[in-house]
């Protein structure tokens, strides 16, 4: 059994009435709230039954309590400050009515108004839990309002940004119907927002040619993906086209679902116009360049033609000078005394100098025009050095100069153009001989660098040397360092320039080191594949080639040679030399005559000049080749034309071989011999 104090602690708001409705007992907290509700006082002095929705209700008495004991009772204090909700329990002996309950409090702030604290409630009373719950809910609602307000602000900011953005912004729903249309869209496309809203974006604003890409952009946005930078032509209200760079992103509804696409556009019409203008300028400029290129090509062709013509014009008389002086020295025109021979040798030397000048000029022209064609092959370095040295040996011997050669055993071959390499080395050696004092020394050294994969071929001399200031002018065409030198050391002034350019063409480098009074060293560095195995086979092959070219020529007579040339001095020179070497010779003055004589005489070899009146050499060769009996006859084209394309043209017309005038007569004989059927010796 509970003591009264325990009961009071458990039920601080209880009261007990007797059958006269007087207070028998009252809880301590309720007594504190209602000072007039003391033991023995009538209940009605402080409380009244609170009737909710009841009209003509009965008086609060013991009969009502007994009948309604299963009902919740609500009492109100007479000053209306407090509502009590109670459950009644009947005690029979003595007759008592026990009311258990607590004040009706809906909000925490009501506690203070009633001068209640949480501690006034029994711990089991759920009123406090209710109040805490209500407070928690209040906080949640407050948070939600706060967030909503924040979102509202952000939404307003965003809406403002969209509305006043300097770029057109258009929002469409999943069907492409316009739902957003900002001011920039209005001004760029000339359609007001009310006019635009609700219309189909693709159908109304996108040009037919851009619809596929715009539709793709909308599809991407509707699928929840962003899509950027598509160029679309949009139509304005007055049917003009505006080129826009569009990007799109998904639009979301309140439930997070994608409800359409938001597009941002950038007007790039002026960019497109600028691009078109730029393309036109590029096109115009390209046309101008093509025209200039054509003019340049014409000029180059004219220059080549000029060089070719000059070559022809210079070589033709040279042919006669060299050929006749050679023939005379060889006694073709009878015995000569020593003075005559010396004079003729001077003529021949001058002619050869002139020829080398022409050759150097032509080579420089070829390199400059990019027409230097290389015949790349495995070239024996030893053979190239040997033949180069051999070509300057006579010149060196005259000055008592010794030429030493030091080869590197690991360097066997290089892939290069044999003729051009020899040309470079001969030029360097000749230069060294020219500027080296009598009884001086020249060294030709070869060194392979397997790490750098290069071959260095150095030509050093004990010559006059070059000052540092003069080195810069060393490779300028037609320049000798000191004009006095040109008198002491005659030369074309083209040799070193040609060496440098040829070295470039061969993919190499040329270096110079020199000291005045001590000597100079020129080093040509060429790309090289170091051998992974013995290169003896290559070396032997190259050596063999050299030996074959260097073979001696015998002089026999017999075979019939037809010389077709309109230039009588040349024709006479060749004829006389061939006759002196045991050949029988027929001559003709132009192509037509040559064809006629050939059909009549059936020569074994025909020497055919190309530029002739009546019928040129090309037409004559084609006519002869058209005759079955001349299909196999050797025809050697012999011309002053010296450009690379001439050789191909000659071969195409039917020539067996091609020689450039002025040809050394011994070489001519050698070529004739090799062209003769079964190589019969005259």
């Amino acid at each position: 059994m509970l003591t009264p104090a325990q009961f009071a602690k458990l039920f601080p708001f209880h009261f007990v009435l007797d059958r006269e409705m007087r207070i028998v007992s009252i809880g301590p907290v309720l007594a504190r709230l209602c000072p007039r509700a003391v033991v023995g006082a009538p209940f009605s002095l402080t409380f009244a039954l609170h009737r909710i929705g009841l009209e003509n209700a009965r008086a609060f008495d013991r009969d009502l309590i007994r009948e309604q004991q299963a009902t919740l009772f609500i009492f109100k204090t007479t000053d209306s400050r407090l509502l009590m909700r109670c459950q009644v329990m009947l005690l029979e002996d003595p007759e008592r009515y026990v009311f258990l309950g607590s004040p009706w409090v809906r909000r925490p702030n009501e506690l203070a108004a009633l001068k209640l604290t949480l501690a006034d409630f029994a711990l089991h009373d759920s009123t406090v839990d209710l109040l805490q719950h209500v407070q928690t809910a209040y906080v949640s609602v407050r948070d939600a309002k706060e967030l909503a307000a924040r979102l509202e602000l952000q939404r307003d900011d965003l809406q403002g940004m969209i509305e006043f953005a300097n770029a057109p912004i258009v929002g469409v729903d999943l069907t492409g119907r316009i739902e957003e249309w900002n001011r920039a869209a209005e001004s760029r496309l000339g359609v007001t927002k009310p006019e635009a809203l609700g219309s189909n974006f693709l159908a109304r604003f996108v040009d037919r040619g851009s619809r596929a890409s715009a539709a793709q952009l909308l599809a991407e946005g509707s699928s929840g993906r962003a899509c950027g930078d598509l160029e679309c032509n949009l139509k304005t209200a007055d049917d003009k086209l505006v080129l826009m760079l569009l990007s799109g992103s998904p639009r979301h509804g309140p439930d997070g679902q994608v409800v359409g696409t938001l597009m941002v556009g950038q007007n790039i019409t002026s960019l497109g116009e600028y691009r078109a203008e730029l393309e036109k300028q590029v096109s115009d400029r390209t046309a101008e360049l093509e025209k200039a290129n054509d003019q340049l090509s014409s000029a180059l062709r004219a220059k080549d033609d000029f060089l070719s013509a000059m070559s022809h014009e210079l070589r033709t008389p040279l042919n006669a000078i060299l050929g006749l002086s050679e023939s005379m020295v060889d006694g073709v025109y009878g015995h000569l005394n020593e003075k005559q021979t010396r004079s003729l040798n001077t003529i021949a030397e001058s002619g050869h100098h002139l020829l080398s000048l022409i050759n150097d000029l032509l080579d420089l022209a070829k390199v400059g025009a990019g027409k230097m064609e290389l015949d790349l092959m495995q070239v024996s370095v030893a053979a190239a050095c040997e033949s180069s040295v051999r070509l300057v040996t006579e010149q060196a011997n005259k000055k008592g100069i010794t030429i030493g050669v030091a080869l590197d055993p690991i360097v066997t071959t290089v892939v290069t153009d044999s003729r051009r390499l020899t040309q470079v080395l001969v030029n360097l050696l000749s230069n060294a001989v020219k500027f080296t004092h009598d009884r001086g020394r020249i060294e030709l050294e070869v060194h392979g660098d397997t790490d750098e994969r290069t071959v260095a071929i150095g030509v050093s001399d004990t010559g006059i040397g070059i000052s540092a200031d003069d080195l810069a002018r060393l490779f300028v065409p037609f320049t000798q360092i000191d004009s006095k030198l040109s008198r002491l050391y005659p030369g074309t002034g083209l040799g070193l320039t040609l060496v440098r350019r040829l070295t470039d063409v061969l993919g190499g480098d040329l270096a110079v080191a020199s000291e005045v009074g001590v000597g100079s060293r020129f080093t040509v560095v060429l790309p090289w594949d170091p051998p992974t195995h013995s290169g003896a086979a290559d070396t032997e092959q190259a050596g063999a080639k050299f030996d074959a070219h260097g073979g001696a020529m015998g002089e026999e007579s017999g075979p019939l040679i037809l010389v077709v040339d309109d230039d009588l001095p040349s024709q006479t020179t060749v004829r006389d030399y061939l006759c002196a070497n045991g050949f029988r010779v027929e001559t003709a003055n132009n192509g037509a005559e040559g064809v006629r004589v050939a059909r009549l005489r059936h020569p074994q070899v025909i020497l055919m000049d190309l530029q002739m009146p009546v019928m040129d050499g090309f037409a004559a060769m084609r006519e002869l080749r058209g005759t079955p009996s001349f299909e196999a006859t050797a025809i050697i084209a012999l011309t002053s034309k010296a450009m690379p394309e001439d050789r191909a043209a000659c071969l195409a017309a039917g020539a067996t071989a091609y020689l450039s005038k002025p040809v050394a007569l011994r070489d001519l004989v050698s070529t004739i011999r090799s062209a003769l059927p079964n190589n019969p010796q005259p």
């Binding site: 925490p108 203070a112 604290t117 501690a119 406090v128 928690t136 906080v139």
Partner: protein, 186 residues
């Protein structure tokens, strides 16, 4: 942790040091949440990161931050969120302290998943009591001290708080001796 705790950190930093500092604290803590919801659950690491970052940005020790935060919680956050309920929890400081364990038990009923701390009172005397603090979260004893200090200020009652046991130093739970009135004033 309650969102209201993180929100309280935000309010403390914003009100005492300015909105720029709060942005700096959030950035340093790597927290990108725009706004905390008071009654939502957040990972404890967010609160610890915010406190750590606040310590660095404001140049205060974590202990000072937590204490200030505890006081701020009572005097500002709880007043704002639970003002009437808070003031109804006791007519004076002792009554409030007596009721504190029941209050948190009711909170645990309302938010069982938030694992709120538990308080127990023992050795109740006329001007003192021992408050036992049980929490699975480490390192918050300075925060609790700040709470008590704030309560003393709220009830305008001199209060001394002495930590007598520390979980951080191996005790089973934290324990505080609270003394008020003349004892504390002395």
């Amino acid at each position: 942790m309650y969102g209201m705790v993180n929100k309280a950190v935000e309010n403390l930093v914003t009100i005492k040091f300015g909105a720029d500092k709060w942005r700096a604290v959030k950035k340093k803590a790597g927290v990108t949440i725009e706004a905390f919801i008071s009654n939502d659950a957040y990972d404890d690491s967010i609160t610890y990161s915010l406190v750590g970052a606040a310590s660095e940005v404001l140049g205060l020790t974590p202990s000072e931050i937590l204490f200030a935060f505890g006081e701020f919680w009572v005097l500002h956050t709880a007043r704002l969120d639970y003002g009437d309920l808070l003031s109804s929890a006791g007519r004076d400081l002792p009554e409030f302290l007596d009721y504190l364990p029941s209050f948190h038990i009711r909170v645990a009923l309302i938010f069982p998943h938030l694992k709120p701390p538990r308080f127990e009172v023992s050795d109740r005397g006329p001007d003192r009591l021992t408050m036992h603090y049980f929490s699975h979260r480490p390192g918050l004893s300075d925060f609790v001290k700040g709470l008590f200090s704030g309560l003393g200020k709220m009830y305008e009652t001199p209060l001394t708080v002495t930590q007598t046991k520390s979980k951080d130093q191996g005790a089973e739970h934290d324990e505080f001796l609270l003394q008020w009135g003349a004892v504390a004033a002395a």
